[in-house]
Subunit: 110 residues, 2 copies
């Protein structure tokens, strides 16, 4: 799905940040607060540890997610939406609600 | 850009409705009121008449746009966002604003 013309208006860049199979799911799973890596993996059935790590690293680099290492025994890591990430989730959620309510049947199957 | 997992949440279907190079631009150009076919073409530099007609037909079939034939001499046709189309534009616009404000530089070039 190409959105080149929309680069100047920001839609293309926004969709590249959430593009791919998992990012919109991970952003949604984080929208209610910090979640540990293991729990995130349970909430995204089918994602491998390697892919989850890579997707989170990309979201972190894009300023959508922040990573916190908690120095307990054993040490664990949790992820959280940044303020920008929360805004992105709100925008994506609004579009997803539109899709649920209005998208025609032919658009509902990938 | 694939969003299969998001089909159940509506994001995938919504993005399929606005997918492609032109639809988000046409929806934006219609968001302030009805626009004639010829004017729409002027506002989407680079689009051919044939492609514009096809994109509008798809948007009409998807319930996003309505088409009105005005019986004057000469007869002309204008397009308008439906209420669902207006909601879609609002959701897409919010995402585009996020992209303008927050998307990292690497996501800004297609």
């Amino acid at each position: 799905m190409k959105f080149p013309l929309s680069d100047s208006c920001g839609l293309g860049p926004a969709l590249r940040v959430i593009g791919g199979r998992w990012k919109s799911v991970l952003i949604w799973e984080l929208h209610e607060g910090p979640v540990r890596f293991g729990e995130l993996r349970r909430r995204a059935p089918g994602i491998s540890e390697k892919v989850l790590m890579q997707q989170l690293r990309e979201l972190e680099a894009d300023g959508v997610v922040s990573r916190h290492v908690v120095r307990e025994k054993p040490l664990w890591v949790e992820y959280e939406l940044t303020p920008a990430g929360q805004k992105l989730n709100d925008a994506v959620h609004t579009l997803a609600l539109w899709g649920q309510e209005h998208a025609p049947s032919h658009a509902r199957t990938g």
